[in-house]
Symmetry: C2
Subunit: 148 residues, 2 copies
């Protein structure tokens, strides 16, 4: 059996990202953070996750520089978890997960939450990889150039 | 403790997607499928994953309609796993994972694989959520409208 490469030897950016955030709870914590959730108890209520698992994932996300811990904005003794710039960079991943789910995992007419542009109050347009000329880039027109 | 909603009651498309493909192996199998990997042994060699785990994840991806099983294209007795249309719809997710990794998980100058447009042989442009006018949509200008 092939031994899996350690993350820091892994030349595939997809694999490195997946190693860091490619699990159910990390992805849902990041989703909630974009949605304005900041406190341990609020993450717990939103996710219905066991405290020890939530604590573990939050710590990993802080260690990875995706979340930052801050004192509560309201002057209470709470700690808050806020997306760093690196964490905000995960936005396209969350949007891509959302849009695929909207398209493929709901029955016609079944209700789901919608991500809207607050300036227009309209759902945001579908995001796709684009070629330099702005046309939609299909997977068939792409290829991974491996590190040699 | 809140009991987590069953997936089919979950009104958040991110959560439904994450429930289906939000684990390390599923995401890497999908990545490999976009990269042209089709056979059990080739997935195994690429991922270094135990056979029973690989078999489980492939079966789930087939059951979810993301991969389709076909007889081998070369007339041998092998089965091949090929992305369905629904599976090809995961392309933005894989691209988003890749681009975040490229930007945040490699040291300057550290080599990594690159996704290129085969028509130009150039790396594909960064993908971002866009507003209707084509401008980059920042998370701060978005909001999730929940199902009420």
């Amino acid at each position: 059996m092939t031994i899996r490469k350690a993350t820091d030897e892994e030349p595939c950016p997809v694999a490195r990202s997946v190693d860091l955030i490619g699990d159910r709870w990390s992805l849902l914590i990041v989703r909630d953070a974009f949605d304005g959730v900041r406190r341990f108890g609020d993450f717990q209520r939103s996710l219905g996750v066991a405290r020890n698992i939530l604590a573990d994932r939050l710590r990993k996300l802080v260690d990875a520089g995706i979340l930052e811990m801050r004192d509560a904005s309201d002057g209470t003794a709470y700690q808050e978890y806020v997306l760093s710039t690196k964490g905000e960079g995960l936005f396209p991943i969350v949007v891509a997960l959302r849009q695929w789910g909207e398209l493929h995992l709901f029955a016609r007419g079944e209700r789901h939450s919608v991500l809207i542009d607050t300036r227009t109050r309209k759902p945001i347009p579908r995001m796709t990889p684009q070629a330099k000329d702005g046309s939609t880039l299909m997977p068939a027109f792409t290829e991974v150039r491996k590190v040699t």
